[in-house]
Each structure stands twice: as structure tokens, then as C-alpha cells.
């Protein structure tokens, strides 16, 4: 399985994502933002970081990179696109996902463990999880407060597109403990076609017990399993 990892100026989770991919036993290729091909990737990861310094709005400038045109087409043809942290912000700015990510209610950057309840296993990214599983995955962001208009929120829930929700370690609603104050404690969503996932937490930081949690591996495994099922997606090359 081949994962393409996008690199924008200011991206810093690229190496971590590539490391997690290789731990999962797959191949990672770096995709430079000025290129407009995807190196034959079966799944494209838009990693975390501060692309373009998060200036103006997080992800607002990266969204126009030549690479993103290829990603748009790839997604339109059903290719798996996985936005993590800054990648989620880019996907929202690019309108591949609804809503927006805004400054944490605390107005502070937060780097700490978070607990995510799997709300839908009906996505290529959570296929090998069970609904209700609670995954320990760290957050590390200053602008991760998910917001969307009421109708969008209703649709997301109705269409089973809220994939990950912040909960407590015990799996209860986070309430005040929310790392960022996201509406409905949303941590990750998919698009209607369910092939584009955006999430704020960093699964690539939770793939080894040595680092405190290996729960993030479930997502990488899921992607691989799904790609196997559908017969590895013919990358845009």
C-alpha cells in the first residue's frame, strides 16, 4: 500500500506520518506542494503543521497549492484523502469538507492526550474499529474548534458523518474538558462520499506504546484493510 504525504511550506507532521505509515508496514512517498501528481499514492495524507505560518487563516493559502488540484481530482474519483490537524483545516478551506476550524475557546495552544469515541465504523478510515471504541490520541493545535451552521451539523449527524468525537477517558461527554470547544465535540468528519476524512488529533503520534498510546494505529490499519477490499485504488500517478 502506498501513502502519499503532502508537504507544504510549514508542514511538520510529514515525517511523523511517514514514520507511522512504515510502522503500519506500508510505503510513504512525500508529495511536494508545487507538484501536481500524487506519486501513485493509494491514500493521500495532508499532515499537521503551520502551512504558510497559519497566516490569514489556517490552511487558507495551502489550499491553492498545485498539489491540491491533484488532490481535488483524486478525491472526486473516490481516492482516500486524510487530513490531520492542519490537513483538516486545509480540507475545510478547500471545501472538500464542510465547516471551519477556529481558535480554541481557551485561546491557547493545547498539546495533551485526548480521547476519541469512534462514532462511525462505516468509513475506510475506521473500518477495523467498532462504534463506541475509545481511542487515546493526542491533540496539538491552537485552532481546532470545529464550527458549522446548524443545518450542516444536522446533516453531519443524520448522515453518520461525524466519525470521531471528543470524550473523556471513560468515554463520557467531555463538556468543559474539551480541548478546543468544538461544536458537538466533533473531532473528525467525512464527506458524503466517505472517502475524505478530516480530524484534528494526531493519530501518527499514537502508533507505539513507547510514545504512550498505539490506538492511532487502528486508523492506519483501517485504511490498509479498506484499500485491500476495494483493490488498491489506482492512484492519480
Amino acid at each position: 500500500m502506498r501513502f502519499g504525504v503532502a508537504v507544504f511550506p510549514g508542514t511538520w507532521s510529514d515525517r511523523d506520518c511517514a514514520h507511522a505509515v512504515s510502522l503500519a508496514g506500508h510505503e510513504a512517498v512525500m508529495l511536494w506542494h508545487k507538484e501536481s501528481h500524487l506519486g501513485g499514492a493509494d491514500c493521500v495524507i495532508l499532515p499537521g503543521g503551520f502551512s504558510y505560518g497559519d497566516h490569514l487563516r489556517c490552511g487558507a493559502i495551502a489550499r491553492f497549492a498545485p498539489l491540491m488540484n491533484a488532490v481535488q481530482e483524486f478525491a472526486a474519483r473516490g481516492g482516500l484523502v486524510w487530513g490531520i490537524c492542519n490537513g483538516f483545516q486545509v480540507l475545510c478551506e478547500a471545501h472538500l469538507l464542510e465547516g471551519a476550524l477556529m481558535r480554541n475557546v481557551s485561546l491557547q495552544f493545547r498539546c495533551e492526550p485526548s480521547w476519541l469515541r469512534v462514532e462511525s465504523a462505516a468509513t475506510p478510515f475506521t473500518a477495523s474499529c467498532r462504534v463506541g471504541d475509545v481511542l487515546e490520541v493526542p491533540v496539538s493545535h491552537g485552532e481546532g474548534r470545529y464550527v458549522a451552521d446548524p443545518q450542516t451539523l444536522i446533516d453531519l449527524e443524520a448522515e453518520d458523518r461525524v466519525v470521531l468525537r471528543y470524550v473523556t477517558r471513560e468515554g463520557d461527554p467531555v463538556g468543559e474538558q474539551s480541548p478546543n470547544g468544538s461544536m458537538r465535540d466533533i473531532a473528525g468528519i467525512v464527506n458524503r462520499q466517505r472517502n475524505v476524512l478530516g480530524m484534528m488529533p494526531h493519530p501518527e503520534r499514537a502508533c507505539e506504546p513507547l510514545l504512550g498510546s498505539a490506538d492511532g494505529m487502528a486508523l492506519f490499519r483501517s485504511v490498509a484493510v479498506s484499500l485491500d477490499r476495494q483493490g488498491a485504488f489506482a492512484g492519480a500517478g
Binding site: P9, S140, G212
Partner: protein, 742 residues
């Protein structure tokens, strides 16, 4: 002006920080009077910041060599061999004054500067640490500085994607008008790819890369600027706005090029900007350098050659490139959307020559600028009042609180309580290598594809140093080493930042000299050479100097990452105190809180015992005899044990005869001294019952005191009959310590 006997007006010399005699020296060596730009260049390179004219003679006393040392002081950062062909590159640096003026930007640009020192050596920065000092946290302005500095450090480190894994924060009156912001950066590189900033090859082009040059950080020297008016100062920003995004691109581009044969040398631009970077680069290579300021991209119009040469604009790098490869290298930077210009060439003249297009601007021998820095040897005088202060008997003061009450107050002290409100705002994980995150004694990083681990810490409790600067410095080194040992590491090498007042005061120079001797003695004893450092003097406001504050950054090494330990107690484990105990309250945090003073003798330190204790604890760890380890620092044994309880989420039952004696004999201050005194060379460990005998035997063999204190368990922290608090109360006090109105 060509006549060297004509001395410029006092204000001119003042603005370039030169004395009359220094001016004469320069003139004689030059055989003529320097012009204004040359004067500025000489002033900058002869300044304390670049020329270390006061501290250099002292720094020669530090041990700087050892089997693992690959690069000692003198380069942009030090480097040590940690095995498997890998080197750790590290340095600490201060950004005190800018942070006092604008906490966010001052701290942020400080982080930027220290990052450049490390990637200049070709090493990828893998960790940052920050050592901070402020006035009392309950004062709104100090809270403003603290919040701003922490936000600035996070703002920069989080954006460039280098984890901030450790540091320290202290609050003390002494820093009310001079906060301290020291940042340490640690990088890792294959030994063979280590690059040095040594210019070579006359005819090789010199490249300036990164930010455009603006009128940043140019102090004084109004005489040298276009018009002599108020407006000149107006046009000069008091502080700089950091650009971590630009730094991130600069870092990635430089790391791509490091070790590339087309790159002859790399040098970051720091204090005195182009002036010091060009001069040092050329001097290290024993060659010369010629610069055309007209080729330097400007941020503002109307800049004078003087301003261009002395601008301290951030996020800039200087490279010497193999002749003929300049375009290829410029393209490599352009790939990262970085602007670069060829601004000069390396020569064989041994001179720094500056042109503005065709116009000659400056022409100075590097020997004058670098080797002939006139050293200052100020008077050193032991402060008159110190003996009276040392004569105070800390045990003569009656404790105002019960031991339980005192423990909760200490846990809730801003100098002891949880630092989580700080480090939760720092990305301390990016890079996927942080195995022991902030919150324990030292941070531990793994190295992918290897069993080796790297442990990092910064330490420096200035309260001891006020009482005895030499012992204070020795203790700082030993505490840093203890923090590494507690994490399971072998201490390897040291970087240090000497934060002091105005050295022209004999008392301050004495403190500085004593502190350097203390660092030297402790580093020699522990076998941890000093490979890099930084000096920040003149931390004075209206005649009042800060307490002497040597901050020690130390790097340790674990053969096997699985040897790491943390303070967390596990239920059922036995608790032991390793090391001596004496009722010493002088300089303790308890004394500050309970009696509002800092007096009496500071804790004793026996370097030989220190060595034995550290060796014994390391042996206990490698022998698998101890499960949790924590050093005793501020707050003494009681706080150390409580911290292990809080970290592990379990209470404890401590039975300690010394306590019962003291309380039954009705000696409350002795009791406080035993519980909260800061006797050095101690660790609190948790171990399995089965290991007890072997642990005892090991201590005996190494002639190290060891007392079994009790057992981990329950939801209360109990010390015999004298302390009984609930774990949740203790944890709450600890967690709240740094929060507003906490």
C-alpha cells in the same frame, strides 16, 4: 578624521560602547582613526555580547574536553558523541532584555536564534527547553510577562515544529525588573555530517539568505545614520516581530544543503548581524572577506551602510558557497521560496572589507576585530553584608505552620507546583520521539532505529547562589545531573547561560567569578565538560542587580531507552530515600514561604558523595532494583515524596524515626528542616520488596546513605504522626500553583 590622537566626543564612544583607551588601542593597531562605520563595527565586535571582553578570562577556567566531546565552545553550538555514529548538538542562549521590553516577541525571537545556532551545524533540531525567571507571580505585570513569554516560546516552537520538552520557571523579587528568558536547543546529526562555520577558498561567493534586512536591533549610533535627528531612533523598531514560518523554511533548506560539497560554510546571523557573522566566519578560516552592502536586500528605504552592517534582523543565514555553484544553491533556496543574494566573496587578505557599490565603506584587519578584543579585568569583591546573612540560623525561626499545612503550601508554591499550565501550551511531541514528556525530572527522547535515548534538563536555583555563588553554581550542575540520573541517563555534557548583573560592580564580578569556579569544579567532578554557553551581563535596573543565576543545560545518554525511569509511584512499592539528610533550611523554598527571607548557610555539597550517590542510583536502575526515581529539590523530601505520589496517583505511608524523635522532643524547626530542608545529593526511589536486600547492599558497598521510608498506597499522604493530607488536596494544590488567582 585620520588623526588617532583626536578622540571622538564622549556620546559617540558611548554609543559604540567603547572607552577612550579602547578607542586609542583600535586607532594604534589600525594606524589611523576608524571612520564611523568602522567605529560601529569595532564597537560591536568588542562588545560584551560578541567579544566576551569581561567573561572570556573566566570562561577559560571551564573544563571543555572529554572523550565524547566533538565540538567544544567556539562554534555556533557544542557537540558530543553519543555512539552509533551520532552526535548531539546543543546550546543555551539568553534573550532577557528583549523579553522584558516585549515578552511575546522577545521570547519568540530568542527561540529562533538558538534554533539557528543548531541547524547551522547541520543538525536537525529535535528539542527545545526554556529556563524562565520572573518577579512574584501575584503582581499583574509579572503575570503579563510570564504569560507573554510562555506564549512567545510556544508560538515559535510550535510553528517551526520542534518540540519544547523541558525547562524551568522560578519567581523571585530579584527578577522583578529583569526577567530572564533562556532558551536551549538540541539537535541530532550523523557525526560525519557535522558542519562548521569556517570560511575557506578565496574567490568563493558569500550568500545571504532569508529575511530582508531592516533597521532592527541597531542600538545608538545615531551619529552614523543619514540624518542626526530624533526621527532616526523613531525609524528603529524597539523589538522585532518573529517569523517562525520563514525560519521553518530556512531550516529545512539549510538541512537539505548541510554536508553538501557545494556548501563551504554556514553561519547564522545573530548579535551585530552581518558584522559579526562575516568577521567570525572569515577569522575562523584564517582568510578575509569582502562585502558589498548594496547587494543586501532591504526591508526599508534609505538604510545606511552602517545600519545594514549592524542590523540584527532575524531569520537570516550566511553561506560560503563553492565558486561556480552559487546559482544551483540559490535555486535550492528558491525551491523553499527563500530569497538569497550573493553579497560578497572570501579573500585571502585577512581583512573585513565593506563596500557600498563602488564606494569603500570599511576596511579592517580581522586580527583587530577578533584577536585583539581588549579584555577587561574588573575588581572582584566579596559583598560586605554577606557574612551577617550567612550567620543567621534558619532553625532559630519558629515554623508558622503545621507540617501538613506547610506541605500543601509548598506544593502550591509557584516555584514548586505543576508546570502543566506551561507545557500543555507547548507542542512537546512533534517528531514522534518524546518518550518522557515534560513533568518528570528530565525529558527523554528516543532515537528512531536505535536503542539509545537522550535525556535533557535545565536547572539553576539562584537562591543558593545569593548566599554562596560558588556553591550555588556547583549545586546547579549537580541538580541538573541528578535530574538526568533520575530519568535513567548518564550525564554527558553541559551548556550554560551566565545571567548576572553589571560586572563593573566588584560584588557582581566576584559572584560571576565564583560561579564560574563552581561550575568548573562540579563539571570536573562529574566528568561533564562544558561544550557551549552564553553570557548575559548587565541584568541591572536602577543600580539593582539580579541574583547570580547560572543556568545549566545538561544532556544525558541512555544505552537503552527501556532503562528510563520517572517519579511515578506504583501501589505496593516500597519507598527509600537515598543520600544524606540534615535539617538545612538556609536558601530553601520553605524559608521563603514561611519566613520571607533567604538567609543562613545554603545546603552543603560534597562533590565526592554526590558522585557516589549518582553512581549508586544509576547502578540500581541498570540492575533493575528501582522502579521509580525522583531527585529531591525544592521543598525537600516531603515534597519529593508527595510529587511521586501525585504523579502516580497513589498515597503513601511513611514511617521515619528521625521525624518521631524531632516531634516527640518538641523541636518543630528541626522537624521542618528534616521534612522540607533542601539537603543535596538525594533521591527518592520506589522499589519492589524483593529488591530491598540488594538495594541495601548496593548502598552499603558504595558508602551511600539509604533509609527505607515506607510504602506506596492509599489515598492519603502520611508521614508518621506528623503529616496527614489527602492525595486529592495535595494534587489540587500542586495543579493550581501557576494558575491565575491560584
Amino acid at each position: 578624521m585620520t588623526d588617532t590622537s583626536v578622540i571622538p566626543p564622549a556620546h559617540v564612544l558611548a554609543e559604540v560602547a567603547l572607552t577612550e583607551s579602547e578607542y586609542r588601542l583600535a586607532g594604534e593597531s589600525l594606524g589611523r582613526a576608524p571612520n564611523t562605520v568602522e567605529l560601529g563595527i569595532i564597537g560591536a565586535l568588542w562588545s560584551e555580547h560578541c567579544g566576551y571582553k569581561t567573561s572570556k578570562p573566566l570562561l577559560r577556567r571551564l573544563p571543555t574536553t572529554g572523550p565524547r566531546v566533538l565540538q567544544g565552545p567556539g562554534e555556533n553550538a557544542g557537540a558530543v558523541d553519543i555512539g552509533e555514529g551520532l552526535a548531539v548538538v546543543f546550546k543555551i542562549e539568553s534573550h532577557n532584555h528583549p523579553s522584558a521590553v516585549e515578552p511575546y516577541q522577545g521570547a519568540a525571537t530568542g527561540v529562533g536564534g538558538i534554533l539557528r545556532d543548531v541547524f547551522t551545524m547541520g543538525a536537525r533540531p529535535v528539542a527545545l527547553l526554556d529556563s524562565l525567571r520572573f518577579g512574584p507571580l501575584d503582581e499583574p505585570h509579572q503575570r503579563y510577562l510570564f504569560d507573554g513569554v510562555v506564549a512567545g516560546i510556544g508560538g515559535y516552537g510550535n510553528c517551526v515544529g520542534v518540540p519544547t520538552v523541558g525547562g524551568e520557571v522560578y519567581f523571585d523579587e530579584s527578577y522583578r525588573h529583569n526577567c530572564l528568558v533562556n532558551a536551549m536547543c538540541v539537535g541530532i546529526i550523523e557525526r560525519s555530517r557535522l558542519t562548521r562555520a569556517v570560511a575557506a577558498g578565496p574567490g568563493n561567493p558569500v550568500l545571504l539568505v532569508g529575511a530582508d534586512t531592516g533597521r532592527d536591533g541597531i542600538h545608538g549610533a545615531t551619529f552614523a545614520s543619514a540624518e542626526l535627528d530624533e526621527a532616526t531612533e523613531q525609524r528603529r523598531p524597539a523589538v522585532q516581530v518573529a517569523n517562525p514560518f520563514l525560519e521553518k523554511c530556512l531550516m529545512e533548506a539549510c538541512l537539505e544543503l548541510a554536508g553538501d560539497p557545494r556548501i563551504v560554510a554556514m553561519q547564522d546571523l545573530g548579535a551585530a548581524g552581518l558584522t559579526s557573522s562575516t568577521a567570525e566566519l572569515a577569522a575562523r578560516g584564517g582568510c578575509g572577506i569582502e562585502i558589498d552592502v548594496a547587494c543586501v536586500a532591504r526591508r526599508e528605504r534609505g538604510m545606511t551602510p552602517y545600519e545594514v552592517m549592524l542590523s540584527e534582523s532575524q531569520e537570516r543565514m550566511l553561506l560560503v558557497v563553492r565558486r561556480g555553484d552559487e546559482q544551483a544553491v540559490q535555486q535550492a533556496f528558491a525551491r523553499w521560496d527563500l530569497h538569497s543574494d550573493v553579497i560578497g566573496t572570501i579573500t585571502d587578505t585577512g581583512r573585513l572589507v565593506v563596500r557600498d557599490g563602488a564606494l569603500p565603506v570599511a576596511d579592517l584587519p580581522l586580527r583587530l576585530l577578533i584577536d585583539e578584543v581588549p579584555l577587561r579585568h574588573p575588581l572582584a569583591k566579596r559583598p560586605a553584608g554577606i557574612d551577617a546573612v550567612l550567620a543567621v540560623d534558619p532553625l532559630a525561626q519558629t515554623p508558622p505552620w503545621t507540617p501538613s499545612d506547610a506541605l500543601l503550601r509548598l506544593l502550591g508554591s509557584p516555584n514548586i507546583g505543576s508546570r502543566r499550565p506551561v507545557f500543555r501550551t507547548y507542542d512537546h511531541q512533534v517528531g514522534d520521539d518524546t518518550v518522557v514528556p515534560p513533568g518528570a525530572d528530565a525529558a527523554v527522547l528516543r532515537i528512531k532505529g536505535s536503542r539509545i535515548g537522550v535525556a535533557l534538563t535545565t536547572d539553576g536555583n539562584a537562591r543558593y547562589g545569593v548566599l554562596d555563588p560558588r556553591r550555588g553554581a556547583e549545586i546547579a550542575v549537580c541538580e541538573a545531573a541528578r535530574n538526568l540520573v533520575a530519568s535513567g541517563a548518564e550525564p554527558v555534557a553541559v551548556t550554560n547561560c551566565l545571567n548576572f548583573g553589571n560586572p563593573e560592580k566588584p560584588e557582581v564580578f566576584w559572584q560571576l567569578s565564583e560561579a564560574v569556579d563552581g561550575i568548573a569544579a562540579a563539571c570536573a567532578a562529574l566528568g561533564t565538560p562544558v561544550v557551549s554557553g552564553n553570557v548575559s551581563l548587565y541584568n541591572d535596573t536602577s543600580g539593582v542587580s539580579i541574583d547570580p543565576t547560572p543556568v545549566i543545560g545538561m544532556v544525558g545518554r541512555l544505552d537503552d531507552i527501556d532503562q528510563r525511569r520517572t517519579p511515578s509511584f506504583a501501589p505496593g512499592h516500597r519507598i527509600a530515600l537515598i543520600g544524606p539528610t540534615a535539617a538545612e533550611l538556609g536558601g530553601s523554598e520553605y524559608q521563603r514561604l514561611a519566613h520571607g527571607c533567604n538567609a543562613g548557610p545554603p545546603p552543603r555539597l560534597d562533590l565526592d558523595l554526590e558522585k557516589r550517590v549518582q553512581a549508586m542510583v544509576r547502578a540500581a536502575i541498570s540492575g533493575g532494583l528501582v522502579e521509580s526515581v525522583h531527585d529531591c529539590a525544592e521543598g525537600g523530601v516531603a515534597v519529593a515524596v508527595a510529587e511521586c505520589c501525585i504523579a502516580g496517583g497513589h498515597g503513601c505511608e511513611v514511617e521515619w524515626s528521625a521525624l518521631n524523635d524531632a516531634s516527640s522532643r518538641g523541636l518543630p524547626s528541626i522537624l521542618a528542616g528534616i521534612l522540607f530542608g533542601e539537603t543535596q545529593s538525594r533521591f527518592v526511589v520506589g522499589f519492589r520488596e524483593e529488591a530491598a536486600m540488594r538495594l541495601q547492599a548496593l548502598a552499603k558497598a558504595d558508602e551511600v546513605p539509604l533509609i527505607e521510608l515506607g510504602t506506596v498506597g492509599g489515598d492519603r499522604i502520611r508521614f508518621g504522626g506528623v503529616i496527614d493530607v489527602s492525595l486529592s488536596d495535595a494534587a489540587a494544590a500542586h495543579e493550581r500553583a501557576l494558575l491565575a488567582h491560584g
